[in-house]
């Protein structure tokens, strides 16, 4: 039999109907729902008199709008209505929800894996582009629009054209102190914001195999920033160890059976892809973005580029527009850029290992004068774990604000934002214009680099700073 990639295996396994001249009808194993992209979908069901076909395969949370302090008294009434609408919809249609009072509440892409809902070989969708995060487990996971949310609620399936496959191979070993965030920012800087368009990417190579599950989630999370439809990593023992004992994972003999089913999805030896890109892990340094898309990034030892460096007219114009928005001069050293804000959080980097790395830099240090720094755990469960480990005390002692879980300043739909013209070192995934607030200037970095910027007042190579391991 022809060797297959994990992408082809999951696709073939989930094809309900395949006919010429139309997309395939794909079965969806897990549908995650949040408050911002679902109200119109539930309303559509109601107007047509339809039900949710498989409430048991549907799971909801609220994350985008939730305040990260004073959660019990929400002052934004439009946001409050959107959250209440989700609760009402879930009750009416019989969908389980981790609402704002649930100990399981958190960012949808953090709690799916935590609860063991995310598993290898599954098809997973959510009305959110960072659904690609779940690909870390060897699931085919992608973001959809609200009409598709309604379609999945009603039919548990989706019409999808077969994707092209791409291998993104990270060869060799990472240098000491380099994180998953640096890998994915380096990949996107090297190949651009749309090199993945039309493709599902599989990340492979020695450097990827050596990553923990949380690090793999950071990589897969940003596949969409490379334009990919999804990004995933074949399951291995690291995947199995993470999932064992989690809430929605079977136990005992059933678990062993599950494991062999999961492993059968891993890419076959000698399988081939439609295209392959490669990067050498050893060349990756701590990354900082300087512009308004995630590909506009350089090593912390680099400098802000000049429009003169552009390869084409449109690229030149894009650099000019980014520099103007960011208030940066060509040739400025990255380590000379001062920040006023630091945000540690988001579905990219808000898990316990992210917080530990940031805490290792913050421990015994002080946030620099003129910097406001905040830490927003990805879920209430991460928050609880961090507090048991004393990370909250380390952060508070250093002058960081310690908050409740949510998407927070990644997209600033809740009350947390960066004021116009001010600069933020952020562990989130998008440095788009206005993303963290109108006129806000975002620099994407890893959690350790964000903490380094907080205590230093400007960007610094975290490897040059004192670090105190916290666990």
């Amino acid at each position: 039999m022809k060797p297959k990639t994990i992408i082809e295996k999951i696709w073939d396994h989930h094809t309900v109907k395949s006919e010429a001249d139309r997309p395939d009808l794909m079965y969806i194993d897990l549908h995650m729902v949040h408050e911002v992209t679902s109200p119109q979908a539930f309303e559509g069901l109601r107007l047509a008199g339809r039900k949710v076909r498989r409430p048991d395969l549907t799971f909801a949370t609220m994350d985008h709008n939730v305040p990260t302090k004073n959660r019990e008294s929400i002052t934004d009434l439009v946001a409050k209505k959107q959250m209440e609408t989700l609760s009402t919809n879930c009750e009416e249609f019989g969908v389980e929800i981790a609402d704002i009072n649930s100990p399981n509440n958190g960012i949808v892409h953090v709690i799916g894996p935590e609860l063991g809902l995310t598993q290898p070989g599954k098809t997973i969708v959510c009305g959110d582009s960072h659904t690609s995060t779940h690909g870390a487990f060897g699931a085919l996971a992608f973001g959809i629009g609200t009409s598709e949310v309604e379609h999945v609620l009603a039919t548990q399936s989706l019409w999808q054209s077969r994707p092209k496959t791409m291998e993104v191979r990270v060869n060799g070993r990472l240098a000491e102190g380099i994180t998953a965030k640096d890998i994915i920012l380096a990949i996107i800087s090297k190949f651009g914001v749309d090199f993945g368009t039309g493709h599902v990417m599989e990340y492979t190579g020695e450097a990827i195999k050596g990553l923990t599950m949380e690090e793999r989630m950071t990589i897969c999370n940003m596949s969409i920033e490379a334009g990919a439809r999804a990004g995933l990593i074949s399951p291995d023992q690291v995947t199995v160890d993470y999932l064992k004992g989690r809430r929605n994972v079977p136990e005992g003999e059933a678990f062993e059976e599950k494991v062999s089913e999961w492993m059968s999805f891993a890419t076959d030896k000698d399988a081939t892809y439609d295209s392959v890109v490669e990067i050498d892990a050893a060349e990756i340094e701590p990354m900082v973005t300087w512009g308004t898309n995630p590909a506009q990034g350089v090593s912390v030892h680099g400098q802000v580029p000049s429009p003169e460096d552009a390869m084409s007219g449109p690229e030149r114009k894009a650099i000019e527009q980014s520099l103007e928005y960011m208030g940066l001069e060509p040739g400025t050293k990255i380590t000379d850029i001062e920040v006023e804000h630091v945000f540690i959080g988001s579905c990219t980097n808000s898990r316990i290992s992210d917080l530990r790395e940031a805490a290792a830099v913050a421990k015994g240090q002080k946030v620099a004068d003129g910097v406001r720094a905040m830490v927003v755990p990805g879920s209430m469960s991460v928050k609880k774990m961090a507090e048991q480990e004393g990370l909250d005390d380390i952060f508070r002692a250093a002058g960081f604000d310690w908050r409740e879980a949510g998407c927070s300043m990644c997209l600033s739909m809740n009350p947390d934002f960066v004021p116009e013209g001010e600069r933020c070192a952020s562990t989130s995934n998008r440095n788009f214009e206005g993303r963290q607030g109108k006129g806000a200037r975002t620099h994407l970095v890893s959690p350790a680099m964000a903490a380094a910027a907080a205590v230093n007042g400007k960007f610094a190579d975290v490897r040059d700073l004192e670090r105190s391991p916290v666990s």
Partner: protein
């Protein structure tokens, strides 16, 4: 959904690459629970000054582009967030066709659910159209049935489109009703594969 068969309309030109859905509709307008009324917020941060007045430098605020129904933009249009509020806002503002050298996948799919036709054309053709519509009223006729774009001056080009997606727009199909015709197949999949 309202079918789209042919459209003759004025063009609006946005000569920028990587226009993301955060620019098309900023996050503060995503809290509504309805599908309608988003047009007033389209390209909000580019279109309006801080005091709420029109930003006269913004391309779509130029007098010649005021009533545009065909948007012409550069590579990777609609990248970023999956928010369907982006096509809702474009449609509500009056755009029914977007022409660009390339689109982001989720946005491209979302268009077809909302009666918007995204057309991929080669880069040089897009740039030529941009030149014509940049400073003057420039009307195009888009004929979806025959997959052709023409202007009154003799310009003509054709475009590719997936036949299924084309059918969706031409007929204004409700995709869920269509899928429910396959309910037996979905049920047998559930019985066989999930058992």
């Amino acid at each position: 959904m309202e079918p789209l068969v042919t459209l003759k309309g004025n063009t609006g030109v946005l000569p920028r690459v990587n226009i993301d859905t955060d620019q098309i509709i900023p996050k503060q307008f995503l809290k509504r629970v309805e599908r309608t009324g988003f047009g007033q917020f389209l390209f909000f941060d580019w279109r309006f000054n801080a005091d709420g007045s029109d930003n006269e430098n913004f391309e779509l605020n130029q007098p010649h582009a005021k009533d545009a129904s065909i948007l012409i933009a550069d590579h990777n249009f609609g990248c970023g967030s999956s928010r369907e509020h982006a096509p809702w806002a474009l449609n509500d503002y009056g755009f029914r066709v977007v022409i660009a050298p390339s689109f982001a996948d989720i946005f491209y799919n979302n268009c077809f659910k909302n009666g918007i036709l995204p057309i991929r054309l080669p880069e040089d053709e897009v740039y030529a159209l941009m030149e014509k519509g940049r400073d003057a009223i420039y009307e195009l006729t888009v004929d979806l049935e025959n997959q052709k774009i023409t202007d009154d001056g003799g310009f003509e080009t054709s475009f590719e489109i997936d036949p299924y997606l084309k059918g969706m727009l031409l007929n204004g199909w409700d995709e869920i009703s269509l899928t429910l015709q396959y309910e037996n197949e979905i049920e047998s999949y559930e019985k066989e594969v999930q058992a």
